[in-house]
Amino acid sequence: MSLTMDRLAGAGLPGLSLRASRVRTAWLFLTPMIVALVLVAGWPLLRTLWFSMTDANLKDLSTAKFIGLDNYFGEYGVLSDPDWWRAVANTLRFTVISVAIETVLGTVFALVLNADFPGRGLVRTAVLVPWAIPTIVSAKMWAWMLNDQFGVINHVLLSLRLIARPLAWTASPDLAMVSVIMVDVWKTTPFMALLILAALQMLPTDCYEAARVDGVSPIKVFFRVTLPLIRPALMVAVIFRALDALRIFDLIYVLTSSSKYTMSMSIYARQQLVDFQQVGYGSAASTVLFLMVAVCTALTIMIGRVNLEGETR
């Protein structure tokens, strides 16, 4: 019997139990993933950490000298650069505002998608369109619609007499961030809506029937029954989106290029790294961003609705 078991596990070693050989096979099967993740994530992360403590230059990385924490705390370190702090403020502002709007809008979308009416499939299909469009393309499409001279948005606002003269949406200091948030909300609300919809569809129907029999208004039902029930799923969706928003790069890069009024942490770090060739300094900036995201992630996992065991909650 033991011989059969060994052969079926492909081990061939006599005396090895089925369980042990299955574990060996498991590690063998995990090897490609571990190698790939170490290669593209683990090792580059460690190197970035190392570069952040050197004066490395993009032209020749091999001449990098260790300079301690000067890139962080030095006189010209990241943490004493007002531009960096502006990028931090921009990113946080972007994250809080856009995720808040997306949550509210996403909930509205999800409630509509969850209602039972003919044509629901059409709405769901339409909602998926912004999600499917590449971010760069959305940025270009909106840049065109927001164009100060020929953009359709200015045209509509002008003809409705809501504004007196065309607005420079992507260029003016006050409106650049508004534009970025507008496009991000358009692009990512579908994702939010789908996550919330999935939560709505798992709700038991009996409490709704009870509420309907009692003649409670739908708005009251939403705030008293639905919202508390979907809150855990809503929190997961919000955290996912927030972590994603903290690393925003492509939308801002294309829509408002390197305007200081919208520059995010990722854009700041890449600019230092690639455009200014200061790999050491840029790595320090990206490490600070990484640490911020890591703390958020760790908190999320600890608060942990993360279900690893696969048993039903």
């Binding site: 995990l30 580059p44 339409a126 065109w144 996550l195």
Partner: protein, 275 residues
Amino acid sequence: MKRALRRVGLYALAAVIIAYSVFPFYYAIVSSMKHGSQLFSPALLPPHLDFSNYATVLQQGPFLRNIANSVFVAVMVVAISLFIGLTAAYALSRVQFSGRKPLLLTVLAISMFPQVAVLSGLFELVRFLGIYDRPWSLILSYLIFTLPFTVWVLTTFMRDLPKELEEAAIMDQASPWIILRRVFMPLLWPALVTTGLLAFIGSWNEFLYALTFTLSPNERTVPVAIALLSGATQFELPWGPIMAASVTVTVPVVVMVLIFQRRIVSGLTAGAVKG
């Protein structure tokens, strides 16, 4: 009466949602058919069906080459991610061993990585491997975001398959590789299609690494090509051709998403809600 009113409200809201979601893309299609001074008027219908902007984009410069690059990169990323994801998911979902939980947590944590955090390290690696300014640099680097969710979603799906399947195969002395290929893979097709599509879309749309690791116009993928598409002067962007290029690279993805929408929705929510 009140119910009828509510009904009307619901339909109005649904109509607004559809218009809001679809209009920008519709307007891009309209604009892609406009020329010169036609672009200055925000007419909602194209003056006539004119595809010359498309011809311009596809003939001028290396745009066709860029599309080929994008397809190559995305297909390779999907193939590699699915292979690695499938083997890893088998181990993570069907075998109990110590170290499984930390490993899953690590995979989850990597999916939260800000991509810029590994940029300098990856840059060095890409140069060291001699694949800077080659599509392979992108295939390698995209694994950082496709692998975590591929592993995660496939693990969730595989975990729910009944134990008896595997036990029967073990009794027949099948090796784990055969079990994976012959028993699990046929059952996992829906999950493979879902994760494959998500990986494809992710690679097709990626911008940061594509911008950083490729330099020559011939090696670029489409998002970078579109972002850097410029006109005669800095202040005079060729909006017609830009919109034509945008529509060209978006239509295949949108069609794919609409065909497979149920699969994609289940994949997105499996990754987030179930996880």
